[in-house]
Symmetry: C2
Subunit: 209 residues, 2 copies
């Protein structure tokens, strides 16, 4: 996957500082090139990244506190961007959120670099925690917000814990995308999960027949 396919993020690791988009791209592309060449996270160094990107080490340190923070931004640049929610009804917003998880799952399967980056993050507790705080937690908060609105608008049972409801919705998709890398992620899976979780697995009492 090339960087041209990725979107720039509005929020980066260093806030409120003017920055050159082009330099940042060159640095991120440099890390991607190194990762694609099979360089591991342990072997990555700011010096080596600087050399590959054709910038000075100070230029990198002005933007990121170290290679770990930079690494997370590289992953964010390659992963599908967080979605815009239509905001019309809970059901449709949930479908968009789950579709984004499906796209992330597909990206991790098709991009060896991303797959490798995820694996490396998981083996480093510090980076995993930072990725979790910067990427996973905000996404989860967004899902909970959608569910809260759904409860308010009468689209979601009010007697179900929101954290549990969220796990019931994202759990099946994450299980397929992350834990079962051989499982299918077909088009329409997001709708299927959301609608079936809302409807329940019990046989429908026959009122129409």
């Amino acid at each position: 996957m090339s960087l041209a396919e990725s979107r720039p993020r509005p929020d980066g690791p260093v806030r409120g500082r003017p920055r050159s988009e082009a330099v940042e791209r060159a640095i991120i592309e440099g890390v991607m090139k190194l990762l694609e060449d099979g360089v591991s996270l342990a072997e990555l160094s700011v010096e080596r990244i600087a050399r590959t990107a054709g910038v000075g080490k100070a230029t990198i340190y002005r933007r990121w506190s170290g290679k770990e923070e930079l690494f997370i931004d590289v992953v964010r640049a390659v992963e599908p961007a967080d979605p815009e929610l239509p905001g019309v009804c809970m059901r449709d917003d949930l479908v968009v959120l789950l579709e984004n998880l499906r796209q992330r799952g597909l990206a991790s399967r098709t991009s060896a670099m991303l797959h490798n980056a995820h694996a490396q993050m998981k083996s480093s507790p510090r980076i995993w925690a930072a990725y979790h705080a910067n990427v996973v937690a905000p996404r989860r908060a967004l899902g909970l917000e959608v569910l809260r609105r759904g409860q308010r608008d009468g689209e979601l049972r009010t007697d179900v814990d929101l954290e549990l409801a969220n796990d019931m919705l994202v759990g099946p998709m994450l299980t397929r995308a992350v834990l079962r890398p051989d499982a299918e992620l077909p088009e329409g899976l997001a709708e299927q999960i959301v609608d079936t979780v809302l409807e329940g697995l019990r046989p429908v009492r026959s009122t129409a027949s």
Copy 2:
């Protein structure tokens, strides 16, 4: 966790061969000791295991084809055993299956050795595949069998794909137990998930009030 807490498995890596339970235990305990001492899977060798267990290398090779297969048996010896299903109704069997996943999640949190063993397995594609084939796949097949019986007995919608239904049930528990190590795994969670997934998240049409 001591080996005394673990149950011997009826099926081992080598079938139809008479074996000494005591020797096998000594070998498995030897690997556990090495793992607890912080020895990594990469550093483990059959020679070192043999020395620790006080047996010859040939004794190990008579039982396991190599350290990878032995490692999987060590993990199985420490993990909670697969449950006996009551077999009365689908709902109760599902609760037992999910409760077992919850117990496994708790075990992986409280046993540093098990946690470490899981992490090491995941970083080795070959061992992970073997663990999947020997431990995860049969457990999944059991869940699908319970759901199939549920469909036959009218406890489960017949218009839902069984694989999807299974992911809808185990997904929320796995998400908490595996993907969100900081999430709570309270008592009663298995019942809560099963009943809510069966019932659905849509507000109940008020007929009783």
